[in-house]
């Protein structure tokens, strides 16, 4: 598709180039406002932040040293928070994508009640973090419905801690993140041509083989994108870690530390935390994409054979 358009484009820009100033098409000027804005308000602050992170009180790398030595003014446990954030985000995005894939795959065709199911699943998109957090505390909290039920039935002697810890934050990340993964996966799943699977069925492939050999390899690029975007969403979030979890302990996430340092006017350490956050997240995304490029080739070959 793009190959067919490419010569057209080249011909068009060539004609314009000849008509206008030689070499540079006048249409190129259209990019300038957008690029200028991004340079001024994205790249400059980003570089400024990186520069700031090297201006700690005790030398260029002191802010980073403080981070890894847990010496921040407001927080103790900054080094561990990398693991906390990673664990939360990875678990949330694995659950989201793992649940979205089979459901979206089964809903790709015409199914009774599809519109209602889709609309219901999308409700969390409108709720907002505070709503979800409040619901978690009302339902799962120490005085919530679940604990009341457990106590009434006699399954537990004292309220089970479902909020104020890792589980609570993970659940709220799943509630708010799943609709997004589902919507994306539904788009990718309905993009797979059904005739491919019908052909496989004619050739004698059972449902399992059709899914593993035909649908999964075709869905893998979409699956990777969904995982990455869902990871990005879960990695940066701190309202739910504060409201449902316990941000002084088990769910102290990186963005919370960056914010606290910023609020305490510790700009060097706040920037260092932000830089570490970006590096960790980009490392995970890079790893996933590298893994996919290896997996993808293998699966396609399997599908052909």
């Amino acid at each position: 598709m793009s190959a067919a358009v490419a010569p057209e484009r080249a011909a068009g820009s060539g004609r314009r180039a000849r008509a206008g100033t030689p070499g540079i098409s006048p249409v190129l000027w259209l990019v300038v406002p957008g690029v200028l804005f991004m340079l001024l308000f994205f790249v400059y602050p980003l570089c400024y932040g990186v520069g700031l992170s090297f201006q700690g009180e005790g030398g260029p790398f002191s802010a980073y040293a403080d981070f890894f030595a847990d010496r921040f003014v407001s927080d103790h446990g900054s080094r561990e928070s990398i693991l906390v954030t990673l664990r939360l985000a990875l678990a949330a995005s694995l659950i989201n994508v793992g649940a979205a894939l089979p459901i979206a795959y089964r809903m790709r065709g015409p199914i009774r009640g599809k519109r209602i199911i889709t609309a219901t699943v999308l409700i969390p998109m409108t709720l907002g973090t505070v709503f979800v957090a409040s619901a978690m505390n009302n339902v799962l909290g120490p005085a919530g419905w679940i604990n009341k039920a457990l106590l009434a039935v006699g399954l537990a002697d004292e309220p089970v801690a479902l909020t104020g810890n890792f589980t609570g934050v993970l659940l709220s990340l799943v509630i708010s993140g799943f609709p997004f993964s589902f919507l994306l996966m539904l788009g990718y799943a309905s993009g797979v041509d059904p005739s491919l699977e019908q052909a496989a069925a004619v050739l004698g492939a059972g449902p399992r083989a059709r899914f593993r050999l035909i649908a999964l390899p075709l869905l893998l690029p979409g699956l990777t994108i969904t995982f990455c975007l869902s990871f990005v969403l879960a990695f940066g979030v701190f309202p739910s870690a504060t409201l449902v979890g316990n941000d002084a302990g088990p769910t102290r996430v990186l963005s919370k530390i960056a914010y606290t340092e910023y609020a305490n006017a510790q700009y060097a350490t706040a920037s260092a935390t932000a830089v570490i956050m970006a590096v960790v997240q980009l490392a995970v995304l890079g790893l996933v994409l590298a893994l996919r490029s290896r997996l993808y080739r293998g699966s396609t070959a399997g599908g052909k054979g």
């Binding site: 957008g34 991004m38 994205f42 990005v232 701190f238 997240q281």
Partner: protein
């Protein structure tokens, strides 16, 4: 076709697990929504299962305590301004990026891609510092400025596939008949891009209304959006009754719901996706 329906009717283990999971999610969701809505009408929290007396006083409280009209005005003002400005700049950018190939194009694409994949906090902190230096903190223009940073590149990325679909020969034909760049934009491209503009506009609007980190760092007492006010109130858990916060959370939910429903009247996301594929 018959083979396909026969397969779907058969109950498999994986199918049962999938559907049970889906219904568990939907059930949990409905319980969660019920819990918060019920709590927002509760007079007094009790140890029983259901509230004793119902009241609407938390909703009138939302009006007086939170100054809801000004919160709504700020939220909508910021959201609409960000959407309008994003589209205004993103349309020409997406057009040029879709039609032209030039040295450094990959770098420009990267410039619009990176804000989507790095954590908001990592640029929010220095950006907020910059906004303070410009003395734009706690003002609506300041909020618009910080929200444009993720919204503009997002709109560009959403719009590029839509421009790709428009046949360049249509523009060339218009140019042959003497249309200038401005005329090509207004009379040829704009009508053809309406679905793309709506999709990008709606998605940007929803993102801006829900955007927390950036707005939170720049907002002040005079320029609060609903999300920021709500989070601030729920942080001071002891000072406000939880029913008051729940009432506010319900109001926020209704606001986004109304925006989303209005948006979905104009755009059907599945049909947009279907058109993109072809």
């Amino acid at each position: 076709m018959t083979a396909d329906t026969a397969v779907r009717r058969r109950i498999t283990l994986t199918g049962a697990v999938t559907w049970t999971g889906l219904w568990a999610f939907i059930g949990g969701l409905l319980i969660a929504v019920t819990a918060v809505v019920l709590s927002s009408f509760t007079q007094q929290l009790s140890s029983g299962w259901l509230p004793g007396a119902l009241t609407t006083k938390w909703y009138s409280g939302a009006w007086s305590y939170f100054d809801l009209p000004s919160l709504l005005t700020t939220t909508l003002l910021v959201a609409l301004a960000v959407v309008a400005l994003s589209l205004l700049v993103a349309v020409p950018t997406a057009f040029a990026l879709s039609r032209l190939s030039f040295p450094g194009k990959r770098l420009v694409m990267l410039l619009f891609l990176v804000p989507q994949v790095i954590p908001t906090m990592s640029y929010a902190v220095p950006l907020a510092t910059l906004v303070y230096q410009l003395r734009l903190n706690d003002t609506v223009p300041g909020l618009v400025l910080v929200n444009l940073v993720p919204s503009l590149p997002f709109a560009v990325l959403v719009l590029i596939p839509f421009v790709d679909q428009i046949d360049p020969r249509v523009e060339q034909a218009a140019r042959v008949f003497g249309a200038g760049t401005r005329q090509v934009f207004v009379r040829i491209l704009a009508p053809l891009m309406v679905p793309g503009l709506l999709a990008a506009g709606v998605l940007t609007l929803v993102r801006v209304v829900g955007q927390f980190e950036l707005t939170f760092l720049v907002a002040g007492p005079n320029s609060q959006t609903i999300v920021v006010a709500l989070f601030g109130a729920s942080l001071q858990a002891g000072q406000l009754p939880s029913q008051q916060i729940d009432a506010m959370a319900v109001i926020y939910m209704l606001t986004t719901l109304v925006l989303l429903l209005i948006a979905l009247r104009f755009v059907d996301p599945t049909s947009v996706a279907a058109r993109t594929r072809r």
